[in-house]
């Protein structure tokens, strides 16, 4: 009995070693502890195997191309020549477009939900937005093909070319033939997909900002908007950055919706209206057709690159979100 009473204390470290284990096995508790521990360790095992498999199976490609893989742009399965630059470029560009659209929209919505809307309305809208996050990506792709692509070809594309296309520096992004499919279309669809993440995380973070901060600003004569924009948002800045990184990681790894609307053409183009390709899309399209070990290995190395990108972004996002929540706690 005394053992179980002490092990209940969470702060007490589990004692290791076969002798200690045997002694403690006499109580059923240790069996339960061991079983759950094995399942927890299984997660560790699965994740390390994932990294191991990606590393080992991309060996051929890594050995042959080395660093060249990242900056050459020839993708030629017939002559076994593989360079990932167009895919990396496409992945980054579509994600940036998505964020440029999604961040203002998401932040504004989060401000509305946390600062303005009454609690009940805010909760209902948040729930609907969570539902939006649950819509499968292939359905976004479906709507992308049949709504966004035609709209892009007939309305949005020409409108942007006629306005932003004349801008001095950024203009080159908005010129060139407009096929409907391409980086920009993929960016729009991605934006719709990541907006729910930005909203739900930003709303949470904004809600942790202490009331006194708002009241102090209002008492000094600030308008509601000024108190929100100059006091509340800066306070939550780090956490909002975290939500952006989270959304970025989502956008980078998103496969189906992008594959369906980006045009699948491994080219690096300055124009956002040009068709392109992303890492996830090329894996989705070519993996089953990859004849030859080097071809498959190159695709798996792309998978490894994608994994590392999202790994880093997710890590940064988590740090930022934790930092805000802690930071808010200290200051108040």
């Amino acid at each position: 009995m005394s053992t179980s009473a002490t092990t209940f204390d969470r702060a007490a470290p589990p004692s290791w070693g076969p002798r200690a284990l045997l002694r403690r096995l006499r109580h059923g508790d240790e069996v339960a502890h061991l079983i759950t521990l094995i399942f927890a360790a299984a997660i560790l095992l699965i994740t390390s195997m994932l990294v191991y498999e990606l590393w080992v199976n991309s060996h051929l490609s890594r050995a042959k191309f080395g660093g060249k893989f990242f900056w050459t742009s020839v993708w030629d399965p017939i002559f076994d020549n593989f360079g990932a630059a167009p895919f990396i470029y496409g992945t980054i560009i579509t994600s940036i477009v998505a964020l440029v659209i999604a961040l203002p929209l998401g932040l504004a919505s989060a401000i509305f939900l946390s600062e303005l809307a009454p609690r009940k309305i805010s909760d209902t809208i948040s729930f609907l937005i969570d539902l939006l996050a649950a819509v499968p990506s292939v359905i976004y792709g479906l709507l992308g093909i049949f709504i966004v692509v035609p709209l892009m070809r007939t309305t949005i594309g020409p409108a942007l070319i006629n306005t932003l296309g004349h801008a001095p520096i950024l203009g080159s992004l908005f010129r060139g033939p407009n096929y409907g499919v391409g980086f920009f279309t993929a960016g729009i669809v991605l934006a719709i997909m990541v907006v729910p993440f930005i909203i739900s995380v930003s709303r949470e973070v904004l809600l942790t900002v202490p009331r006194e901060q708002r009241e102090a600003a209002l008492a000094l004569g600030a308008t509601r908007w000024e108190s929100t924009w100059k006091v509340v948002v800066p306070w939550a800045r780090t956490g909002i950055m975290g939500s952006v990184f989270l959304a970025l990681a989502r956008a980078l790894g998103e496969t189906m919706a992008v594959t369906m609307v980006i045009g699948n053409d491994p080219k690096i183009s300055a124009s956002l209206f040009a068709p392109g390709y992303t890492i996830a899309a090329v894996i989705a399209n070519e993996f089953t057709e990859a004849t030859g070990d080097l071809y498959l290995s190159a695709l798996i190395e792309l998978g490894l690159v994608l994994f590392l990108m999202t790994f880093i972004l997710n890590g940064v996002a988590r740090l930022l979100i934790v930092a805000t929540e802690r930071g808010g706690g200290h200051a108040s």
Partner: protein, 284 residues
Amino acid sequence: MSGARIIWRKSLNYVMLSLTGVAALGVVSVLFLILGYLLWNGGTSLSLDFFTKLPKPVGETGGGMANAIVGSLKLLMLAALMGLPIGLFAGVYLAEFGGKTFSFVIRYTTDLLNGVPSIVIGIFAYSLVVLPVKHFSTLAGGVALGIMVIPVTVRATEEFLRAVPGSLREGAMALGASKWKTIATVVLPAAKGGILTGMLLALARVAGETAPLLFTAFSNRFWSPGWSQPTASLPVMIYTYAIAPYDDWHRQAWAAGLVLLALVLVANLGARFLLNRGNTVRSV
């Protein structure tokens, strides 16, 4: 301060605040747009045949996706069998047994696994299950989805176990119950609603996954007996049919999209309902 400046500040206030409202409404309306569009396009092509018939060969109209519906259910079952127990027990470990360092490592790994793009999970399941036997199978697809179920289940289990008040545990232990008995008969039942919700959400999430199935479960125009054959699934069918050049296939893709979205939304609404009911009881 001059009057003009105050008017400027006040109008800026109103304009910006209404813009935030417009943004929120805009985002929410996307949901209704999706629902409406799917209902409009999918509803008209949905018929009994869709649920009972096999796909017709190219060129013939009609037919259904019965094999894909069954395929999706089989894949989900495998995913549940594999992912839910691992997630549940690991969650119990984190909430009830774990020390400091090892728990931190497990939690961190779980988050990492949660962030892995689904297509990469597909590559993993491919090299784990498909490569050794050299053919696509339902089993491989189930493994891919099962891995994706784990992180959400772990998180939900840990969170809801932690929310169970310590006094319940102390009460059970004071009555002489051992720790595992306390967990199994008092703590887990108290957190049941939340944990089930988490599991439901995890399954709903993977039900719509397409990317990890493309080269694990692959696809199939016919029934897929047993577990070692490639199988059709609703998400992959939607993808194949949507990018095909046939109008009839597009209509079927809409119908399949509607069925899939209905499934996912019903699961989410059900989870919400479960959670709301579970929360009102058992607060000690």
